[in-house]
């Protein structure tokens, strides 16, 4: 009976923890994605300074949360985002608009993909 109760508690912890993690991940990726989106809008308007500032904010935001995320998310996904952000940053520095826009869209998609993979959806379940 004791083991059964401990198991039920453990199950509740796993489920509750997973829900909290999914919510937190969704928020984190939404915020980082928002920075990428703003950088993309600035690039579309030809404002490289604004795009650079947004990219820097996204980079800082991502760096702060990377340690926590690396406990739960496959490191390959995190590394891919990091590489894309670097690519975006370099393209902005050299004012390469088309490449910067492509790198920005790629970064946004990669960030959003992390949360997408964890969403409780039929596509993910199957």
């Amino acid at each position: 009976m004791k083991t059964f109760i401990v198991s039920l508690i453990l199950m509740a912890i796993i489920v509750a923890g997973s829900i909290c993690y999914d919510i937190a991940l969704e928020k984190m990726t939404q915020q980082a994605g928002l920075y990428a989106q703003k950088a993309g809008e600035a690039l579309a308007a030809g404002d490289f300074a604004q795009a650079g500032a947004q990219t820097q904010e996204m980079k800082d935001y991502w760096e702060k949360r990377k340690k926590l995320l690396s406990l739960f998310v496959d490191h390959a996904y995190l590394d891919a985002v990091e590489i894309s952000v670097e690519e975006l940053e370099q393209n902005i520095i050299y004012a390469n608009g088309a490449n910067a826009a492509a790198a920005c869209a790629k970064t946004q998609a990669q960030i959003e993909d992390i949360a997408q993979n964890e969403r409780l959806e039929l596509a993910n379940l199957l």
Binding site: T3, F4, V6, S7, L8, L10, M11, I14, S18, S70, L71, F72, V73, D74, H75, A76
Partner: protein, 226 residues
């Protein structure tokens, strides 16, 4: 490399904990659901053990989920006979009243060679000696021989033998088990006296000491290393 080392240690401890929580049956005779869980756990932990890019938690969560599922299902199947049958199946009587039940044999996908092999493993080379043979849910064959092939027991000989009682291990590899000593209604003073009588200075010099129901002490000292 150190990361892999520590990850392996962590996963090893978690699997040991999981198997301990699942109970003794898990380690001995496996029911179908228990076998599935054991195989899955071993597969699950090997992925984060080898690939340091995969977070440890992605190996731990499935292990704990399987553990919880197993314990909860075992508990519920204790209460529900129907669920128990669904999870573990039911035993099949392969030999009934000395006659092979062909239908059950086929249903269990057990051929006659398998049956004869199992009987031989259980020291019954002659199928004519068997009254009943039951294929249990864990895959083991329980055999009830005919009365004429059954080993003689004390009851058959009307012998009035004393009941078997548990022998307590009171010293194992130099360590005194005080709880066992207490169960045998003895204490440390008694033990020290007994060891002195056997010319043993300290319990640390004893490899094994047991005490039976009659209070007889068996002592074997450690071998002196050259």
């Amino acid at each position: 490399m150190l990361v892999i080392f520590f990850r392996t240690i962590i996963l090893y401890l978690v699997v040991i904990l999981a198997l301990r929580l699942m109970g003794k049956r898990q380690i001995g005779q496996l029911q179908p659901s228990e076998l599935v869980v054991t195989i899955m756990i071993s597969e699950l932990v090997s992925i984060p053990m080898q690939n340091i890019g995969v977070p440890l938690i992605s190996g731990l969560i499935p292990v704990f989920t399987l553990l919880v599922a197993e314990v909860v299902l075992s508990f519920v199947s204790l209460k529900s006979r129907r669920l128990n049958r669904l999870l573990s199946g039911h035993s099949s009587i392969l030999i009934s009243n000395g006659k092979i039940n062909e239908k059950e044999l086929a249903k269990s996908r057990f051929n006659i060679e398998d049956l004869l092999e199992e009987l031989r493993i259980n020291n019954y080379p002659d199928i004519g000696d068997i009254e009943f043979a039951v294929l249990e849910t864990n895959g083991q064959l329980s055999i009830l021989p005919k009365t004429c092939a059954r080993p003689v027991t004390a009851r058959d000989l009307s012998l009035n033998l004393p009941e078997v009682k548990l022998t307590h291990t009171i010293i194992s590899d130099g360590v005194v088990d005080e709880a066992a000593l207490k169960r045998a209604n003895k204490n440390m003073n008694w033990l020290t006296k007994q060891l002195t009588n056997n010319r043993i200075e300290s319990p640390k010099d004893v490899f094994l000491a047991t005490i039976d129901a009659n209070g007889s002490l068996f002592v074997q000292t450690k071998e002196v290393k050259a």
